[in-house]
Each structure stands twice: as structure tokens, then as C-alpha cells.
Homo-oligomer: 335 residues x 4
Amino acid sequence: MLIVMEKNTSKDTIQAAVTAIEKRGYTARPIPGGDRVSIGILHNKGSVDAAHFLGLEGVKEVISVTKPYKLVSREFKQENTRIKVGDAVFGDGSFPVIAGPCAVESETQVLSIAKSVKDAGAKLFRGGAFKPRTSPYSFQGLGKQGLKLLATVREETGLPVVTEVMDVENFSLVEDYADVVQIGTRNMQNFSLLRRAGKSSRPVVLKRGLSATLQEWLMAAEYIMEEGNNNIILCERGVRTFVRHSRNTLDLSVVPAAKKETHLPIIVDPSHAAGVRNQVIPLACASAALGADGIMIEVHNHPEEALSDGAQSLYPDQFIAVMKKINAIHAIVRE
Amino acid sequence: MLIVMEKNTSKDTIQAAVTAIEKRGYTARPIPGGDRVSIGILHNKGSVDAAHFLGLEGVKEVISVTKPYKLVSREFKQENTRIKVGDAVFGDGSFPVIAGPCAVESETQVLSIAKSVKDAGAKLFRGGAFKPRTSPYSFQGLGKQGLKLLATVREETGLPVVTEVMDVENFSLVEDYADVVQIGTRNMQNFSLLRRAGKSSRPVVLKRGLSATLQEWLMAAEYIMEEGNNNIILCERGVRTFVRHSRNTLDLSVVPAAKKETHLPIIVDPSHAAGVRNQVIPLACASAALGADGIMIEVHNHPEEALSDGAQSLYPDQFIAVMKKINAIHAIVRE
Amino acid sequence: MLIVMEKNTSKDTIQAAVTAIEKRGYTARPIPGGDRVSIGILHNKGSVDAAHFLGLEGVKEVISVTKPYKLVSREFKQENTRIKVGDAVFGDGSFPVIAGPCAVESETQVLSIAKSVKDAGAKLFRGGAFKPRTSPYSFQGLGKQGLKLLATVREETGLPVVTEVMDVENFSLVEDYADVVQIGTRNMQNFSLLRRAGKSSRPVVLKRGLSATLQEWLMAAEYIMEEGNNNIILCERGVRTFVRHSRNTLDLSVVPAAKKETHLPIIVDPSHAAGVRNQVIPLACASAALGADGIMIEVHNHPEEALSDGAQSLYPDQFIAVMKKINAIHAIVRE
Amino acid sequence: MLIVMEKNTSKDTIQAAVTAIEKRGYTARPIPGGDRVSIGILHNKGSVDAAHFLGLEGVKEVISVTKPYKLVSREFKQENTRIKVGDAVFGDGSFPVIAGPCAVESETQVLSIAKSVKDAGAKLFRGGAFKPRTSPYSFQGLGKQGLKLLATVREETGLPVVTEVMDVENFSLVEDYADVVQIGTRNMQNFSLLRRAGKSSRPVVLKRGLSATLQEWLMAAEYIMEEGNNNIILCERGVRTFVRHSRNTLDLSVVPAAKKETHLPIIVDPSHAAGVRNQVIPLACASAALGADGIMIEVHNHPEEALSDGAQSLYPDQFIAVMKKINAIHAIVRE
């Protein structure tokens, strides 16, 4: 077992850790590394419980390898990355809300929704013009026409717009219309797309893959940063598990875990995780209480007639109600 | 139950399936669809075992419609079940907090912790006297001596105590000392133990199994209710997934999903889910924001010396801080 | 599709649901059950999106009956699709073996391996020229130079070559060199890439996504078929689960399950699933016994020096030994 | 990173490993431990890929901790444990088959099935008298009457019988009738039951828990061995994953992984994993090809009328056919 100490840990703290380890009957051997000290545990009979040492002062991790990511890591850059889009800042302790329908359907639809979410306090508008769909026979989005409608939303409401880009071919087109480009869950390890996003001047919302570990997710962000784009907003949107009462399982513990590893902001999308409206509202409140850097939430003026994912979209009235709670909760946890 | 037949199944095969179904005492009604026939099973009392029909000729799929639980279901009893223990009520919209160490270790330890958590606002004290451990060589708890220490805590502080019971043999003993008995995650489908709990006069905290579906969990509660004990508090404590940044994945969406299905109260244990202290605090806040009926949280006066699960236990000062946030958040979501 | 209503739903609510369904152009037929009403949707062409109805008042659950795939389904085409590549046929009851290194590294390497696997009975050669890697700092493959080395292998040995294509940009290039193009697990739902593959004249090996359901996998194949390419070989390569003793969990039951649903051939890649050599050999034998349509297996002349995935590559001697067993087992199960 | 070498590795082999590590640019420091040498990797920049070293000669593992189990480990006892029951031996390289219905239903039923499976080559008879069921309203087994019917089967056919014990209360009763007692998946971490099994003179079939890691499973066996019973047969029966095309996901890679860690025999139960008959047959063949120490398979004379799990039970004719294949496959892989 290798106990990795925080950088710049004092000699006294290291000695205290050594003492704590030896108190349990092990031999502890400090190993000065490149930029930090690790402590090897020797001559242990049987296994050693990592939990014993994980909580000691100065201990960063109890592991076998150092992490493979560099640019995205908090060790590389200690202070939070702050990403400003319109009036919103992701990563400064505020809690900006991105809201809008799953798919752009018509001018009436997007303008109606955009106005109501802006009034309720949303800072960005979301809406899909290119929709990744499991079936080739499902509605695939309005494409360029959808992008134009998003531009109309921006002109009319002043809200910056977030929309998904599905491939390198359409990247420049999407970039021309969107304020923030989103890389979806199915493309989290589409490395060609990540590299292209790294060359973009737009901030990127990088959704977590359906069964991505935190490490794989951060490595995907590393691909983008390595090409030069530092403005990446991570977005947890539920992972695939055996569970059947929700579409995916929202993994809220990834938020504090990610904040420990990376300086990048991380937001939550409870709508895609839940898949049903009555779970979205409590999960949105939970996300605010958790200390996330924002939220992305689906709202539709007529969910029952939506061309995709209507069941998970809030009614405008529900969105107003949830915004009040979110803001009050955020004020408590922010202090 | 709906039995979906293969496309182009002959009339004879469909008739043979109908006959097989009716031989078991059900009414079978063929439903011709767009491109295949389904057979509905009508007038069944309670649920029907899908396995009976999956192997019949021409059967493509068997789909359950009726939920198999009765007594625990909200359709059976619409209003929330309220369970009063000491000053706390689970299920009335309040948010009682159960706090204490993973394991009872000594009188000094439990009294010290109990006083500090009571002062911070905890309504019940938790502590394990019988500890289910993966390894036979790990600390197994103080047993009866631990139960006596819990009784001392109650006498000294007035806090009711919650402790785990691991088997039918020790059930009466645990019942004699505990105000609330807990059935742990590994025993969620220990049906003999569930039946014994059903004969107890104590409320039962029923933890979710490590990979239990909501339905299996509710069926476990049904075993208890069916024997006569209606006072069951469900407790989500994380499920097993591919995720490695937390010990288990806390499945918060199960709270609204369970509330839709059952009248029983449901609380959250973020400590066992997270496994590390720095995730426990945000997850505790998230649980309060979610609308759960309470929380169970581990606190230790000297976590770094704890005999089990020290890494996930909060320091008393952290507990005080989190209680303030929890109470403020609960006030917002309750209204 | 079956829409299950809550118990005790009023007639008006049921009528409102019927109206909402028919507004979308379907026929809705209420089916009174034992203790609740369900509503069947009839005469739908293709699948219906459950999300449309999940949020309607009184709706408890929405159950899909019709499978959403068409062209790939066995109901659409009963007889097995047979795909001939060189001397091999996938789907005719034989058991062709694809073998080679994870990555193309040098001419010496590929020729050495190709000759030994051909001698042992392999029918196709595999090797990656473009390598999808979790880290941007890992070896990314030789690119075009790697493709040329694969062409050399074909010229020297007569073995057709299989290699992965990672993006639309390089598709034509890969197509020019490869006999069979492979779409990797991370790109299973890269819909732009699937569409491009649908326009190719090359057979496609479509690997299963890391957490793809059988249905999602078949829908990915549907994207390819819908564009006109019918020559798709499904390849099971392990899924992500909580298990830690192997890199992924090889899901062998998907082979008989897929064969029931689709006419497409399905092969198994035990190397990526296992991640360690000593599991690859027994899993290869198991795959032969299972009735799969072939196998893809990694072989390296110097695994300990491989630039990627050396730990899972067989030594040439091990490959010879496993081929003997595989062929003998296949002869037994084929009969 | 710590590279753990096999016990008794020669100095030359260790030196070769050191050379291989340093060839990759790392500093390798051999650490002589209690009974083996480990090699620490120092001064690595960024992470080191475990896979690079996992395949080197003499390398046992690349890890942070040694395993927590003792008595069950192959390091503790190198040679396979052989468990003789009637004519069968588990662990000697043979492939004994345990067959019978899920539940004991009647004398006619068990005798009819027992005779046919014996004729087909089964060495033991299985049948449940106490049935753990998700629902309290499902058939719970015939209890003592069922045990008596199993005794009748033994008298009439000479086949030893295997049956499940669900609790400590009924352990002596079950022990009186059964030749082998089975601990089911839901009770794998019922530690009181494991301890009781440790005091039994009967061999124990220990099924893997629904989401148990290999390590947890071996620790459960350790509980039994620690009490004195060395005759434990591990049984893989599928684990819970996101997969929906089979009831559970049969994890065949656990067989070679377990054989590396433990001297105990390991068998496979494809019936409970699959849940449907058409998957059981190929998975049974796969299990034989894998090198498992036997198989447990459900057979029913009238599956469509079975009181539990009929859909996964083979017809007697199917069992005869699969036995022929299994035996032929085993002969190939055994050699």
C-alpha cells in the first residue's frame, strides 16, 4: 500500500502519519518522490484497510498509481476555473441555471419557453438542433434551421444559447450560432470530436458518458484542454446501473469527488438522469444543496406534445417554483 | 400481466397459450395489435409469476403490470405512515436526524458522541453492537456489552437508540435494549429475519440491499408488514455500481420514486454510501433538499481511531455545521 | 405499447389519456383489468416513444411491446445473414477466427504475428492503425502508415484485414486499405459514423458499447442498415459492471439473446473483456461452445513489449493451443 | 505502484522484472517482504499502466494491498481441494453435474425427474424444500415434507441430494436430510448462517451474492472455513448488472479468476443466471468449456406447470442432449 501525502505537507504531519500507521502494527517507510512524499507500508500481514488512513491529516489518497490527468487536475492549477457566459459565471460559487426544451421545435415554442425561463431567473437557454437519437426513425432535430431559431432566441431575450454538436462536420456551423457547445454523453469518448472542441473558442459543456468513471471523464476533458481550450464545464447527467425506477442513476457524489480532483466547474442535469418530471424537481433542489456550479434543466411549454423527452420536461409554472427553492437553498450552502 | 406473442404466431399456438394460462386459474384475453397478438391476463388476485409463461411456445415476452406489493403500497393506504420515536416523527414532513458512531466502542466514546449530537439537534442515537463485517477477522462489535452501553446513552441523554440486529437468535436481546431495530443491507432478503421483525413491537429501519430494486425492497418491507409490524422506515444507503470514486452510489432518485409507490417513510444514510467524509457533508445537504423523511449520519469523536468506518465519520464540529445547513434547507423545501 | 393507469382513475382521466394518444395519430383501446385499466396503443407503425405518455395524468407506467428495430430484426428477415470475407463466412454455422495484435507497431511485428496466426488457422488478421485511447498522452496508433502495413500483411499472407475507423474524416482512407472496418465500443452511438458506415461497401464489425443494452446495439446496427449496408457483424466485448477481477464482464448470454432477435452474425472478443491473458483462453473456449459466429482474439509475438494491451495478448504458442481446442469444441456444438 | 511477485520467485526472475520496469523509464526498488518480494516503482511521472507489468514472468499482481483472505487462499494451500459426494468429486478435474427442479413439489415429480437426470449422467440431485422468494405470497416450498421427498429420491436412485438452507433455525433439520447444503445468493453475507455452516459436517455449496465481488465471496467462504468446515463448493449464478435480456449476467470470467486465488472448487449455475431456457443450453456448454468444476442445472418434467422458475428449467430431453455436449466438451478441455 502506498499512502500519498498532500503536496507541501510539513515534516511534522508526515511524522504523525508514520506514527499513526505504526501504531496499527505496520512498518511505514516515507518515500520522497518528485514533488511530494508517499509512505509505503511494509511487512503487513494480510491486508490493510485503506479507510484507516484515508482520513489522516495530510493524506491525499491511499492508492497504487498517481492520476493520469495533468492539465485538468487541481494539482496543476489550484484555483477554480471561472467561465463567464453572458451574465453567468460557472465556477465562482454562484449557481447559474441553464433551461430550455430538449429539442428546438418552432419559433413560437422556443420564444415562449425562453421568455418564461428568463423571467424565472435562468441565465442561459438550451435547446437541441441536432439530436442524437437511439433510433434512426426518431425526430433528429431541425438542424441548421434549429440553430437559426436559437439565434432568434438570443436576439429577442439576450440569453446566451447552449446546443449540442454531434460531429466534426457540423462543428463550425454550430459554433457560429451557439454561445456554448455541448458534447453529449454518447460522444464523451469521441476523441476526434474532443480534439475539434479543443480548437474552438466557445466554452464546452462536456457531459459524462453513460458509464464513464470520473477518471475517464477527466481524461476526455484533458483531450480538449490539450488542444488549447480551457473553458470546459463538466455536466453530470446520470449513469447506467441496474436501477429501473429512473432512466439513469444521478451520481451526485461525483460532484464533490470531481471538485477534489479538478479545477473545472461541474454542473448537474437532473432531467436526463430522472426521465420523469416528478423526480426532476427534488433532484434539482438536491443539486443546489450539493454545492454544484449550476444546473441544466428541461422546460417545455407543452410537455405532453414535445417531440422528444416530454415526460421529463417541467411545466413553466413548475420551473418558477423550483427556481425559488434552488435560489434559497444555494444561498444557504454558499455562505 | 401481458403476454406478447411472436409475429405470425398461428391461431393454434395462441389458443394453446390461452389454455395454459387458464389452466392456472386466470382469465386470458387475446388482444390483436398492429402486427402481433398479445394476451392479457385478467382478474388475477395479486401478482402473477412471469416465469410460468415465458417458456410457452410462441411467447416472445411477458410483461408485468400489477405491482406485487400490497400492504406497503400507496394504493392500499394513501396517507403517509407516521412513526413516532421519542421526540421524533418519521413521515410527518419533519426531518429527524439519527447520529452516532458506526460501532459502539466504549462508554466514554458513546456518551461523548451522544451528548454532542444531541446538542446539535439529533433526535436519535445510532451505534452498532453487532457488526456485520466482510472479514471474520475484523472487529465484530461488543455484542451484549454494546447494547448495555446504548441503554446507558438513553438513560443519560434521553435519546432513543437505533442498533442493528443480525440474526433471529439475538433478536429478542436487541429488542430488549433498542428503541428501533435496524436490518442491514446484507440482510434485506434474509426472509427469516424479516418475519421475526414483523413480530416485533419495535419500529424497524430497513436498509436497502446493495443491489436491490425498489420493488424488491418494498417486497422485503411487505414480509415485515405481513407479520403485523407496520412501523417500517426505509433507508437508502447507496447501491453497487461500476463507480469507484465513492464506496457506493447514493441513489437519491429512489426517494421520490418510493414515495410514489409506498406510504412508508424513507430516510437516507449518506455515510455508508460515500465512504469518505468530504462527500458526506454535501450528500447530507442534498438529502435534506430532496424531501426525504430524515437522515442517518455517522459521527465519531476520534474518527482517526475508530474501530470501523472512521474515514466516513464526521467530526463533532462538522456535524454541528451540517445540522445548521440541513435545518435551513429543510425549512425551505418543506413549506 | 401498453399504458398502465393508476388504480381508481376516473373515467374522465382515462378519456383524457385516450384523447391525448389519439391526438398523436394512434388508436387507443382501454383494457379493463383486475383492479386497474390499461390502454393499448394499436396500429402504430414502428415504435412509439414512451416519453410522450409517461407524464399524462393518471398514467402509472408505459410499457413498450413492439421492438423499435426493423431491418435488423429476425422477424423482418428469418434466415441468418451470411457475410463472406476471404475464406471466412460469418453466419453460416462456421467459427472463423480473427487474430492479431491490439495495435500495428512495425512491419516485422505484424508479419511475424500474421504468419503465425494464419498457420494456426486464423481466417482474418486484426490490428489497430487508429487507436482510441483514454489518454491523449498514450500511443495513438501509426495512422496511415499502419494501414499500409496492414496492406502488406494482406499481400504477404492472403489474410483479409480488419481495422478500426474512429471518425468520418478518415473513413475513406481506412476503407481503402481494410477488408472489414471496425466501429469500436466508444463509437457505438456515434450516429454520424454509423451513417457513414452505412454507405460503405465494406462489412462492418460493430462492437457493443460499454453499457449498451441489446436493443441499443441493434438500433445502432439499424442506423447502418438503413443507409444500405447489410453486412454487419456484431461483436460482444464485455460490458461495464461493478466487477473488478476482469476489465469488463463478458456477457455471453447476449449471444443467444441476439440470435433470437436478429439475423445478423455475432462474434465474441474475449481479449478486451478479460484484460488478462489467463482469462482469455477459457473465455475463448466458452465462446466456441456457446454457438457464437466467430471470435476475435489478440495475439502478440512479444506481449511484454506491446505498445498497448500487452497483458491480454496471447503468445503465439498459446494461440495455437487454444485454436485446437476451439475447433474441437465447435465441431461438437455445431452438429 | 507495487508489483507483487509470486512466492519463491528466483533472483533471476526478479532481476528480469526490474530490468523490464526500468526499460520503461521507471526506477524499480525490490522490497523483500515477509514471504515474498515486491517491487516498488519510484520516480514515475504520471501514472503507470498496470497492464504493462501484469504479464511479466513471476508477477502475481500489480496492486496496493495483499488479499484479506487466508484459509481459502491458494497461497495458504496450493493444491486443489477435492470434495467427494457419492460418486462425484468436485475439484479433481472432472465435471460433475447437479440436476433437478427448482422446487420439490411432489413425490411423482421428484422421482420422475431424478430418474431421468440420473440416466442422463447427473451425479447429484437438487431440489428446494425451503424456497427464498421475493414475495411473501409466492410458494415458499414444502419444508420438512420436501426434505423427506429428497430422502426418498436418494433411497430410490442412489443420488446424493443438494438443498438450500435459509436460516440457522432449520439448519440441523436440513443437515439431517441433505448430503450437501446450499447457501443461497441472498444469504451469502448472512454471517450467522455462514458460521453455522462452518460447524456442519456437510459440504456446502456457497452461491455468489447478487453483487458480490470475488473478494467478498471468498471472505464469505473464509467465515465457513474459519469455523472448521473445509468442504466448500463455490457456485457462480449470475450477477446483477444493467443488462435486461437475461435475468442476471453470468460472469464466467470469475471462474479462472477464482481458481487463481483459491484452492476451492467452483461450479456454475446457468439456469438462475439466464432465467430463460434457450440461454441455459449454450451457457451450460460454455461452462463446460471454461474449465469449471461442475455445473448445477434445473430440469423439470413439466416446466410449464412448475411452481417456481419453470421458464428456466430444461425439459428432460433437452437435458439429455446438453449432457452429451457437455461431456464431449469437457473431454476436450480437460486433457
